[in-house]
Symmetry: C2
Subunit: 334 residues, 2 copies
Amino acid sequence: MKKLINSADTVVPDALAGMAAAHPGVLSVDLDQRVVYRAVPKEQGRVAIVSGGGSGHEPLHGGFVGAGMLDAACAGEIFTSPVPDQIAAATTAVDRGAGVLHIVKNYTGDIMNFEMAAELVAAESGTQVATVVTADDVAVEDSLYTAGRRGVGVTLIVEKIAGAAAEEGRSLAEVAAVAERVSRAGRSMGMALTSCTVPANGRPSFDLPEDEMEIGIGIHGEPGRHREPVASAAGIAARLVEPVLAELPEGEDHGVIVLLNGMGASPLIELYVVYAEVARLLQAAGVTVERSLVGSYVTSLDMAGCSLTLVRADAEMLRLWDAPVSTPALRWGV
Amino acid sequence: MKKLINSADTVVPDALAGMAAAHPGVLSVDLDQRVVYRAVPKEQGRVAIVSGGGSGHEPLHGGFVGAGMLDAACAGEIFTSPVPDQIAAATTAVDRGAGVLHIVKNYTGDIMNFEMAAELVAAESGTQVATVVTADDVAVEDSLYTAGRRGVGVTLIVEKIAGAAAEEGRSLAEVAAVAERVSRAGRSMGMALTSCTVPANGRPSFDLPEDEMEIGIGIHGEPGRHREPVASAAGIAARLVEPVLAELPEGEDHGVIVLLNGMGASPLIELYVVYAEVARLLQAAGVTVERSLVGSYVTSLDMAGCSLTLVRADAEMLRLWDAPVSTPALRWGV
């Protein structure tokens, strides 16, 4: 295992310390609780948004904390859910009197711990919590850590759009409703050229022969749909676009927001090569690309590969997507 | 070799097609000439800026085309200089009557081809060209492709600051002068955990045992200073900070702009771990970090590793660094 780390045990706190050092004025990091906050808290009376999950998917979620997106992100150990106390602390800290939306990826541990945190908070402080679960991965029905579809790339699109709705001063119910609508409108599928290596394990999570790829991989290296010889970028794009389109909700003439996401070790030049093919296939299928994002946003440590997320986006979603955002990993309009 | 590509021969045009598809309204890509332009050309009377070099370093340079930074970027084949005709075409196309600044990394092929392009343009169209060469890599005196220091990470900082100066309406001589000042004020050093693999070669450019790292690596996999067992992130940070600080120009009480750059295959979580150590070492050395950037900006295909760039930045450089920029890879203030 070759990694830029100090020790397998300290990767998460060390990375959080690096985030704090790299983004003063934007982020404020509670290193004890392992929560990333906005440096400048949101004004009173606005809905706040908390997300989080296992580490190893950076910039998700801490890189999306900032004006127009998340108020706090709770970092678990690598590929391990944050704990209820941590989530409860973050939720209480960011409440500005208008309630808090939890955005949770569909993994059993995350669901359970965010639920427990919501109960803790309700009992202790009376903070109102609403929850939206993302479950966009069409690769498998259930998986190693999931009942139902896994939550992957759509999460960042839900976080961006919900963040913009909260910034507009909408109610908790309204912010939760638009987040839920985005979540339901999104589908994803990923593939891997290589395994990731969890630092504490010290060896690849799975073996993948030098001439094979895994289609439908999860962001923790969970098994996907099948393995096959490595295809061309065009072939890989087809294996992602087709199943995602097949399960993408219809939406009267609505186009899509596209995320072509790198898994962590695939360089940008390769992501652009795949994106050219994705764009071609979507055009051939008569699907209009309204917005696109190409880069490594929902990663799986040092896995090489990519995933595709499509969201069937109505006019309101596009308007909220375009709204100003100022976070370490997404920044525009400000 | 496992890569997300169609074929080794078409990586560059395929990636350019992906850039064009991913950034409509921001970029306009001439796929025949392999030049990335701003979709909305700069207004008349402003100095234009052209850069470029071998591909394989994305987002450098095409990802830095846009308002507040580059007007055009010329893409060569992987690790191969763009040709004079291509650079001349870009230079002529972006000239708005105020002349064009060429920002060139110090590699023999790049220097020669940008020079020939400048001569071609002067002879044919009378466009005034000034040139700034970046040569910030302290690892080696001369190298495989270079007389003198190699040009690496400072290039993006020069491009950002020169771009802002051009946007303010300054003359070609003034824009060139500030670019030159930034270039001289910057020093870099890189390290690799793994080799990159050039698609046309199909195998790693060099062999690096599973327990060793290379200190002082070049962005084309050129040999560095030495090899040694893989150190901790703290140890790696020290091996970069010390030699860079040792050769960093003094600057009466001026702090630094820091770029902690990923080589292509190192995930963001690891870059943050290293950045925490870099920030600690700079603080201990009494060096004030004025601005920082952590991410994969000047890559070497799928090499794992990182590089550190420091620029001794005066107040004007900081003001121009902070000025609005709107490119695919750097965006703020707009």
